[in-house]
């Protein structure tokens, strides 16, 4: 119970931010479409998150919901591990993540949820530093007139609005006195996606390029090899997310088994 009380907003927010940065953009989606439809999607998800929070608090949580929540968290974990392994293999020709995965899962199970707060705070500084660096390196290539081209203003294609387990399951992991800002987790994803789309649109003039190419476009004078460092920061965040989700799944599993014992008793 002690661990549950101390699960912080920064840990949950970093987990969501990490997942949102890895989310690939739909080709052909304009920045305008991303702002309009993405904003609507985030609003809808905030509403759903608030309603579910009230539901979880006012009704007795059934064991089956807890098991479903564990499955949801494990699915997220699997997705992040796959994305991180793909980055490791493509960019660093390494299988290290698969090798370290059992160790990560073991550490995730051993460290209580409250233990993920301190690394999250440190990692947020790295994330901010990395994003500042990234912006400094691509700012010179951004051209405002791309925003006024026909591709950038059309609304023909809808962006994908990702749904993460954290939006819906945080009431299980936190005490009743959770900060209100936790409801705005979908807006964090929206912000990450808009920043990515804006960067790609301003530099390349369309959203048909992958995010990694935006990192490769980074250059300051003759120095142009910062993409590996920025990817390493994301990989560290991905390792954090894997451990954090594992800890969260372990916590809910314990709750579910306690629930079962209580029902049997």
């Amino acid at each position: 119970m002690q661990g549950q009380k101390k699960l912080s907003f920064s840990a949950l927010a970093l987990s969501v931010w990490t997942a949102a940065l890895a989310e690939s953009l739909e080709p052909g989606v304009s920045l305008r479409g991303m702002l309009l439809y993405g904003g609507l999607g985030a609003l809808l998800l905030t509403g759903i998150s608030a309603v579910l929070c009230v539901c979880w608090q006012q009704t007795a949580v059934r064991q089956v919901w807890l098991f479903a929540a564990v499955l949801g968290l494990l699915a997220e974990l699997f997705r992040t591990a796959t994305q991180a392994q793909s980055v490791c293999r493509q960019e660093f020709h390494s299988m290290a993540l698969i090798g370290l995965l059992p160790l990560l899962l073991w550490a995730g199970c051993r460290i209580p949820l409250s233990g993920w707060d301190a690394p999250a705070r440190v990692l947020w500084w790295f994330v901010l530093l990395g994003e500042g660096l990234c912006l400094a390196g691509i700012a010179g290539q951004m051209e405002w007139f791309h925003l006024l081209e026909s591709d950038a203003v059309q609304l023909a294609r809808l962006p994908r609005v990702p749904l993460y387990a954290e939006y819906l399951l945080w009431p299980f992991l936190m005490e009743e006195t959770a900060p209100r800002r936790i409801l705005f987790l979908p807006w964090l994803t929206f912000l990450a996606q808009v920043c990515l789309a804006a960067g790609i649109c301003l530099v390349f003039g369309g959203t048909d390029y992958p995010e990694q190419e935006l990192l490769r476009a980074w250059s300051v004078g003759i120095f142009s090899r910062m993409d590996a460092l920025l990817l390493l920061i994301w990989l560290t965040c991905a390792v954090f997310r894997i451990g954090f989700l594992c800890a969260a799944a372990g916590e809910l599993w314990k709750k579910a088994t306690n629930c079962r014992k209580g029902a049997a008793g």
């Binding site: 090798g99 190419e213 476009a217």
Partner: protein
């Protein structure tokens, strides 16, 4: 006792699993620094300018001499695979910052290469691009004759990189600066070619400098005005739109060795800028994005200036900052 055994087996399995994926890969790779792409009637030639150091190669200051290998095949994919096989070690494109093309390389070829870059990472979409204004045969001859040519080529590419556009801009149309090799000497010609689709416009050194100045490109720009060289170190370009007329204003900072230009020189430079913008407009190219500026001022769809209409009334004012 049983618990201890279980722990030991678990630890052993964990360590075994980690070691299973531990792989020692050599850092000795052929680091590709630039890629050359040329198209003939039925064949494609790909050249790789690379460095094959004996120690760790994953560093820009790896000290081995530059070398170049060329391969000619029927398709781009085949040519790329073929030239990779000619390298002494496995090709690594992490430091491949430059793309050179021959004058007759088509837009389709560039798109095909960009697709390869995006799919397999052999280069980067943000590579600095230029035209190597020699035939493949001539380049081969020069490479055989001049020993240090690949080193000079990389130095020249680095030196001129500030004036080079990037590969991802090729669909919108871009100015490709030209490099020439003559008598085993490599140099920037100062000239450029505008390429958009199948459209080609050749620009002399003066026109190239005007275009670079109007594009806000960094670096020194030299013009011959009233038969005197005038070097511009920095220039700020601003636009004032009033309906269908445009006031273009250039605030320039001259180079250290250039005396303060007179009114006649300013007027000549202004005339050059106006003529360049108008001549491109007549060929369907909005050099300084007047249509987008109009859209920004009056709203998308309500622009007063569109590339389909005649060139707007253009007035250019050039000012040099006082000493």
């Amino acid at each position: 006792m049983r618990r201890r055994l279980r722990h030991s087996i678990g630890t052993l399995l964990l360590v075994g699993w980690c070691l299973l994926f531990l792989r020692c890969e050599t850092t000795e790779k052929s680091m590709v620094r630039a890629l050359y792409l040329a198209q003939n009637e039925a064949t494609v030639t790909v050249g790789l300018l690379y460095q094959a150091p004996e120690a760790s190669a994953d560093a820009s200051e790896a000290s081995a001499a530059m070398q170049m290998r060329l391969a000619e095949e029927s398709t781009l994919e085949k040519a790329l695979s073929s030239v990779q096989k000619k390298l002494p070690q496995k090709a690594d494109y992490r430091l491949c910052d430059f793309l050179m093309i021959s004058e007759n390389t088509s837009e389709e070829m560039l798109s095909a290469y960009e697709t390869i870059v995006l799919e397999s990472g052999r280069g980067r979409a943000a590579a600095k691009a230029s035209i190597l204004a020699v035939s493949t045969e001539e380049l081969e001859k020069q490479l055989e004759a001049a020993e240090g040519l690949p080193d000079k080529l990389l130095d020249e590419l680095k030196q001129e990189s500030g004036r080079m556009p990037r590969l991802y801009q090729h669909r919108d149309g871009m100015f490709w600066p030209q490099l020439t090799v003559q008598d085993e000497e490599l140099s920037a010609a100062g000239t450029s070619v505008f390429r958009k689709g199948e459209q080609r416009i050749k620009l002399d050194a003066q026109q190239t400098a005007v275009v670079q100045l109007l594009s806000g490109m960094y670096g020194m720009h030299t013009f011959w005005l009233a038969e005197e060289p005038v070097t511009i170190r920095r220039c700020s370009v601003s636009f004032t739109l009033k309906g269908e007329s445009v006031l273009l204003r250039l605030d320039c900072q001259r180079g250290d060795e250039t005396p303060q230009p007179g009114a006649a020189q300013c007027a000549q430079l202004a005339r050059l800028c106006t003529q360049t913008v108008q001549s491109f407009w007549q060929q369907g190219i909005d050099l300084v994005h007047l249509q987008q500026r109009s859209a920004l001022q009056y709203g998308v769809g309500r622009e007063k200036i569109t590339i389909k209409n005649d060139c707007p009334q253009l007035q250019t004012v050039v000012r040099f900052l006082p000493e």
